[in-house]
Each structure stands twice: as structure tokens, then as C-alpha cells.
């Protein structure tokens, strides 16, 4: 039976998206997981993956068109089926040609999604009945105009999914359903709980006018109270990204037994190398790119560092994918430079620069920040001399770098000199990496950082 395909929340804060490109032609068949279209959200350009295999009967939203989360974007079904009734209904619903809907837009558009997800809506026979209330869009939208509270629009869900969501404290409205007609089923809740949208399998977020609406009262409260005494405390909503950071790092810190190894290096040779390499370059290579490259070389010599604890097994990765922690105003993100053993410093620098620029502008796709086997984090630019970091899963080690500062040192011949020193702190997951193993890796890394030429050997 033909059914409508709805716009889904591809990021935690997405409320609508623009279809920049359709990848499947009308009349063409597609399989589950194949990319149907590219969607630009508030943060990123994401692939919309088919929740199931079918034939694309009709596109409802054309390239360049926008759709709110929950709005129908296409009609899918079996080859030869007539998309007519569903498509017509969907267009009536989403189209601003209904004057009343225009008057109350955009909230009317956002309240609409609850309707098409009801299974009966997919049946052509029920169209006239189901469509009738939509013609009265102002009624549906009216409560939404009363205040800033977000519309509570529940997707269809299985009873088991609802029970598991209650048990795990997951807001089912923020889970993308993978069942028929967008039904949220148990696996959607479990994957949302296991990693939220970051796991790529269940987009969080959704129908929220949430950010704005929820902040509203706090701000108002603050200004009202300013005339009498100190401002009251503010309780801010947790963004999807902040929730993911909290969850992943808590999980890492509380389940991976961390230990830390510290070394100080003479950063002089590395600084000199960077200076030489950058002579004549329009855009200088970052120090981090050198460190990522040399860390990759050290991993080549100690591959056990590039591993993941899996309980019954340990995954040792063949590709050396290194994440670099980057601070953004809304929180930390870790773009990943892939296969660093096979790339030179310039290629790594280019890859990281592009990812960081994209992260700042539009946000990264999960495939651009997930799966680092090793992570580098550097607070040197903040003047931090040394620090310990929490391991970034699924990696088992993280390298924390402090600032390169001048310090006195005793040379081999007993004379006192001055050098640029940098503190290295290697955090390791003891389940995978023992103390001596970590120390051996760190010794190699120190030796490569102090004498980068050894990396050529």
C-alpha cells in the first residue's frame, strides 16, 4: 500500500530541512539504507536514508523546497501504485494555498505532522475523513499561539517502545521511528539511548520550537527580577549536542578505568621543523597536524593503542583515524582525520582545516566526527601547562598537550640552558592498554616528537 514518507529530524535541533538534491527518481526503486535525498538543516547537510525499501512514487517536496519535521516529502509504495490521493492530501496539508494555514504559519505547519503518521492516514479510503480536520488548520494551530510551549506531537509507537522509553527516560517525541509510517519501535529507543543521534541510527530532536520556547521563561524571569536584588538562578535547557557530550564522556569516564602517563618533551626540534616546512607556504601548517601525524607514526609502531574494548573482544583498527578536539561555542566536537598513517602532514592539515571550518559553519555529519581510534586535545593556546583528558570513545587513549613554554634545563654536559618544553599527558583505558604498554608507546611518541626525522625510518 502506498504511504507517505515524512521529513525526519536529522539533527537534535532540526525543525525543518531543505531538500537540496533528490537522489532517487520518481518511479525508481530503492533499498533500505540507500540515500533518498540530501537535506540541509540548520547545522549540516545530511543524507536522508531510506527507512525501508520501496518505489518512489512521487516527490511531494521538490529540490530546493523546505519541509518541517513530520511533513510528507514523498509518496512511496509498490511499482505502479497510484500516489494520487496521498500526494494530493499531503499537498493540501503542507501547502500554504490554504489561506487559514498561512495566517498562522509557521506553527500550523509544525502541528500538522501528528496527523499523517496515524496508520489510517495511509489508507486511501480514509482520506476524505482524515483530511477534513486539516482544512480547519486554525483550530489545530490555535493552542500553539497561546504560548511558547512546544507542540507535543507523539509519533506512532509500539507499546513495547513506549514501555522501554519510559524505563530509560527517553522522550519518544525526539526519536525517529524506523517502522511503517514512522512507527517508533523498540530498537529505535534502544539506539537513541545508546548514543542518540550521534550513533547515526536514531535522530534526536525534532518538532521543537524547543530551544526558543524553553528559554523564553528563564529570560523573562531574569529581567522581571532585576529590579529587586540579584538575578535568580537560570535553568537552561540541555541541547541535544550537550546531552550527547554528557552521555558519551560520562560513559567513558565511569566505565573505562583511566590512568595517566606524563612526559615533558623538548619541543624545539618540532617547532623548528614546522618553521622550515612553512617557509614559503601561503597557509602555514598547524602544529596539531604535525602532532597528529607523528602520533599516527607512533601508533604504527604500537598498533594496540588504536583499539576498542568490546567486552568479549578487543577491536584493533587497521586504519589510524585520529580525532582532534575542537572547542565550539555550543560545545566540543572532534573532527576525525582518517587513515593518518598513509597521509602526509599537509594532507592531514588540509583535512582537519576543512572539517573545522565546516564544524564552525554548518556542523559535521556523524561520519565526520565518529570512530576515532585515538584523540589529540590541545589546551596550549589557553596557556594550560598540562592537563588530563577523558578518553573519547571508541578510542582507548587520548593525548593531552599543554603549552610550549620556555624553561631552564640541564644539558647533557651539565650546563644550564633554555628550551621550549611541552607537557604530554597520555590517558589510557587500562582494559586495553597496560601501564608498561602505554609507557612504551609514549616513549616512542616522545622520541618522534623530539626527533621528527626518525619518523622516516
Amino acid at each position: 500500500m502506498a504511504e507517505t514518507l515524512l521529513m525526519m529530524a536529522l539533527s537534535p535541533t532540526m525543525s525543518q530541512g531543505t531538500i537540496t538534491k533528490w537522489k532517487v527518481a520518481e518511479g525508481a526503486a530503492f533499498t533500505a539504507g540507500s540515500v533518498l535525498c540530501e537535506v540541509e538543516t540548520d547545522k549540516a547537510s545530511m543524507d536522508y536514508e531510506a527507512p525501508k525499501g520501496a518505489v518512489l512514487l512521487k516527490r511531494i517536496v521538490a529540490e530546493g523546497g523546505k519541509a518541517a519535521v513530520g511533513d510528507p516529502i514523498a509518496v512511496i509504495g509498490k511499482a505502479g501504485e497510484d500516489p494520487g490521493p496521498l500526494a494530493a492530501m499531503a499537498e493540501t496539508m503542507a501547502s500554504p494555498s490554504v489561506p487559514a494555514a498561512v495566517a498562522v504559519a509557521p506553527s500550523a505547519v509544525e502541528t500538522a505532522p501528528a496527523m499523517p503518521r496515524a496508520p489510517s492516514f495511509a489508507s486511501a479510503a480514509s482520506v476524505p475523513v482524515a483530511a477534513a480536520p486539516m482544512a480547519g488548520a486554525p483550530d489545530a494551530a490555535a493552542p500553539n499561539l497561546d504560548g511558547p510551549s512546544a507542540p507535543s506531537s507523539y509519533p506512532p509507537s509500539s507499546p513495547l517502545a513506549r514501555a522501554v522509553a519510559r524505563e530509560l527516560g527517553i522522550d519518544i517525541r525526539k526519536v525517529r521511528g524506523s517502522g511503517p509510517n514512522g512507527r517508533v519501535v523498540e530498537r529505535d529507543i534502544r539506539s537513541a539511548a545508546a548514543g542518540g543521534f550521534a550513533a547515526g541510527s536514531a535522530a534526536a530532536g525534532g518538532l521543537a520550537t524547543g530551544g526558543l520556547g524553553a528559554r523564553g521563561p528563564a529570560v523573562a524571569q531574569g529581567s522581571a527580577a532585576s529590579s529587586s536584588g540579584p538575578a535568580p538562578d537560570r535553568r537552561l535547557p540541555v541541547s541535544g549536542k550537550r546531552a550527547v557530550i554528557a552521555k558519551r564522556l560520562s560513559e567513558s569516564f565511569y566505565t573505562a578505568p583511566h590512568f595517566y602517563l606524563k612526559r615533558r618533551i623538548d619541543a624545539g626540534p618540532l617547532m623548528a621543523l614546522r618553521e622550515t616546512a612553512n617557509a614559503g607556504r601561503d597557509k602555514p601548517l598547524s602544529l596539531n597536524a604535525f602532532i597528529v601525524k607523528l602520533a599516527a607514526e607512533a601508533i604504527v609502531r604500537h598498533p594496540y593503542v588504536n583499539s576498542t574494548w568490546e567486552g568479549a573482544t578487543i577491536l584493533e583498527r587497521s586504519s589510524i583515524d585520529i580525532g582532534l578536539a575542537v572547542a565550539l561555542p555550543d560545545g566540543l566536537i572532534t573532527p576525525v582525520a582518517r587513515d593518518c598513517a598513509r597521509k602526509g602532514v599537509a594532507a592531514i592539515d588540509e583535512e582537519l582545516s576543512a572539517l573545522i571550518a565546516k564544524a564552525k559553519e554548518r556542523g559535521l555529519a556523524p561520519s565526520e566526527y565518529e570512530g576515532a581510534g585515538f584523540t589529540v586535545t590541545n589546551l596550549g593556546s589557553f596557556g594550560v601547562e598540562e592537563f588530563t583528558a577523558i578518553i573519547n570513545p571508541p578510542g582507548s587513549a587520548i593525548l593531552a598537550l599543554g603549552a610550549a613554554l620556555k624553561e631552564p634545563f640541564v644539558g647533557g654536559d651539565g650546563t644550564i640552558g633554555v628550551r621550549r618544553a611541552m607537557a604530554l599527558t597520555l590517558g589510557c583505558d587500562h582494559r586495553v592498554i597496560d601501564g608498561a604498554a602505554g609507557a612504551r608507546f609514549l616513549a616512542t611518541l616522545v622520541s618522534l616528537l623530539e626527533e621528527p626525522g626518525k619518523a622516516l625510518l
Binding site: 533499498t31 509500539s158 507499546p159 530498537r187
Partner: protein, 327 residues
């Protein structure tokens, strides 16, 4: 532990019960001189004589009624129908007499009788001889309905049926008679009203009975290769029904596929699906599925005949749909 056929397991149960209790006797078409149309009663005439192994005319209503009368009078008849397809003729005696006399006599009468024979489609038998009467019998209060699918259960349940104080309809199958399985050598009974877990699993519950059990177990093996552990419940007893076993399994798996070779409308399978939907509603992740025979008279064309029945492939597909996986 001896390996024996379903046929021989039934024969052993009849032999032991006839030896144990002189009130037990067998009657039906060809059960004596011919040793049974499907050889279930082989050797019994020679051993117990024509008074206790009685060949009857081709008159189902007549000899079924004679059996009911004998039961009321104090004997323990086992009435063999050559197939349940012929039992439509005897339905009045089963439904209106055997099933109701205890109730209508205010408990003064009891009808300890077993009606048994092959049920359900076999092969190449066309519409009139290829149907399952499981739903017809199970519909009736006052009857017990048993449908064993292994030789051990056939043996243990037939003995329990013969010893029961009320009428029991016993469903066998032409194709199952040759199935082999281990049957303990020491005497045992299988209690009426208890389902069996034919295969444990945690991902999905497949509920079935009688001949489709094999297809369900085959489907479960194919699913295991895809990482799905299906629990297969063999009902064995359709009335009374072991509801607790169903709910216990579905509470664990959250998904249920019912397999019944009968037609889909108002069947044992649709009733089981209703019960599971009602009792496990809050724990279901997908609608309860029913894999049944197609809603048509059985075609004679062999390709269509097979296509009209539940198969391992159909069960596997239904399970994958219940798991929201690609079929």
C-alpha cells in the same frame, strides 16, 4: 530411549492402554482386518480380538454415536476416523452429544471417549480431503482438543486422552505418521493443557501446533543464521490452551508470529493472536502476525497446493517483518 515413528508411538499407547484397562476398545473403518488405514492399529486385532478391535461400516455418524453410547454406558472407546474430513458426518454426535451430556445431565453422565485420526492437508487430496478441523473442534466447550507433533507427545497425550473422563478430539496427520523421534522406553504420560518449548529463543515467539511445527523449526534455524533467535512454542493442547506459556514467552520476546495450517478466519491461530494481543499489549513491539493456510478451498494443482499452506519461508518472512527487518 527408542527412536520410533509417530504411527508406532500411537500404536504403543493404544496397546498399553488396552492391556492396562479392559474397558478400552478401538472402533473404526479398517482398524481390524486391514491393521488400520495408516497402520496405527497394526497387530491389535490379533492381540485383543474382534470384541475390542471392531471394524465398522462406512457410516461415521453411526459408529461415532455407538462410541458415545458405549462411553456413557461405562466403556472407554477410542473411535478412529479415517480422516477428520469424514468427521463432518459425525459432528452432531461429537458436538451435540459427547460435548454436552455432562452439562445437560447435571453431572450425572460422563463421556470418556477419544475421537482420533489424521487431520489437515496432506498431499494430492484436493479440497474435500485437505482441510484442518482444529478450529471446528476447538470452538466447542465440553471438548478437549489435542494436537501432538512429536512421537513422544503423541504417545504420552493419547494415553492421557484415553484416561480422561471427558471427550477428547485427537488430531494426527497423514504426513506426520512417518515422522521419527525419541520416545522413552519407560511408560509416561504427557499432561493435557501444557505447551512445550520446541526451541528456546529470546527475539521472537513462534506459536504453532501439529504439522507446521517442522516448518517453524526450520524457519527458526534459518533465522538463527541471520542472528535472530526464535522461540518456538508447540501448543500440543488446543483446548485447554496453555495461555501462561504463551504470555511468558511473549513477555520475553515482545514479538509473536502464530502459525496455523487452518484457514485464517476464526481459527485457533487467530484466537491465539487475539489472546496475545490482549494480554501482552503493552509489551508488543509489532502487531501479532498470523501465518495460516490461504482462505480458499485447497487447490488440487500441487504447486498451488503447496503455495496455499504455511511454509518455512512464509514463517521466516513474517518473523522478519515483526522485527522490522528487510524480508
Amino acid at each position: 530411549m527408542a527412536v520410533m515413528t509417530y504411527r508406532d508411538a500411537l500404536g504403543r499407547a493404544l496397546d498399553e492402554e488396552m492391556a492396562r484397562d479392559s474397558r478400552v476398545f478401538l472402533m473404526g473403518e479398517e482398524v481390524g482386518e486391514y491393521d488400520g488405514a495408516y497402520k496405527v492399529s497394526k497387530g491389535l486385532l490379533a492381540k485383543y480380538g474382534p470384541a475390542r478391535v471392531r471394524d465398522t461400516p462406512i457410516a461415521e455418524l453411526g459408529f461415532t454415536g455407538a462410541g458415545v453410547g458405549a462411553a456413557i454406558a461405562g466403556l472407554r472407546p477410542v473411535v478412529e476416523w479415517m480422516t477428520h474430513n469424514f468427521a463432518f458426518l459425525a459432528m452432531d454426535q461429537v458436538v451435540n452429544e459427547a460435548a454436552k451430556l455432562r452439562y445437560m445431565s447435571g453431572g450425572k453422565l460422563s463421556v470418556p471417549i477419544v475421537f482420533r485420526g489424521p487431520n489437515g492437508p496432506a498431499e494430492y487430496l484436493a479440497s474435500q480431503h485437505s482441510q484442518s478441523l482444529a478450529s471446528f473442534w476447538t470452538h466447542v466447550p465440553g471438548l478437549k482438543v489435542l494436537a501432538p507433533s512429536t512421537p513422544a507427545d503423541a504417545y504420552g497425550l493419547l494415553k492421557s486422552a484415553i484416561r480422561d473422563e471427558d471427550p477428547v478430539v485427537f488430531l494426527e496427520s497423514e504426513l506426520m505418521y512417518a515422522w521419527k523421534g525419541e520416545v522413552p522406553e519407560a511408560e509416561f504420560l504427557v499432561p493435557i493443557g501444557k505447551a512445550a518449548v520446541a526451541r528456546p529463543g529470546a527475539d521472537v515467539t513462534i506459536v504453532t501446533f501439529s504439522k507446521p511445527l517442522r516448518a517453524a523449526v526450520e524457519a527458526a534455524a534459518a533465522l538463527a543464521a541471520k542472528g535472530v533467535e526464535a522461540e518456538v512454542i508447540d501448543l500440543r493442547s488446543l483446548r485447554p490452551l496453555d495461555e501462561a506459556a504463551l504470555y511468558e514467552s511473549v513477555r520475553k520476546t515482545g514479538r509473536c508470529v502464530v502459525v496455523d495450517e487452518s484457514w485464517p478466519v476464526a481459527s485457533v491461530g487467530s484466537h491465539v493472536a487475539y489472546l496475545v494481543s490482549r494480554e501482552c499489549f503493552d509489551l508488543l513491539d509489532a502487531p501479532v502476525a498470523l501465518v495460516s493456510g490461504e482462505d480458499v478451498p485447497m487447490p488440487y494443482n500441487h504447486g498451488l497446493e503447496l503455495a496455499a499452506q504455511p511454509s518455512a519461508a512464509k514463517i521466516e518472512a513474517a518473523v522478519l517483518r515483526a522485527l522490522y527487518r528487510e524480508v
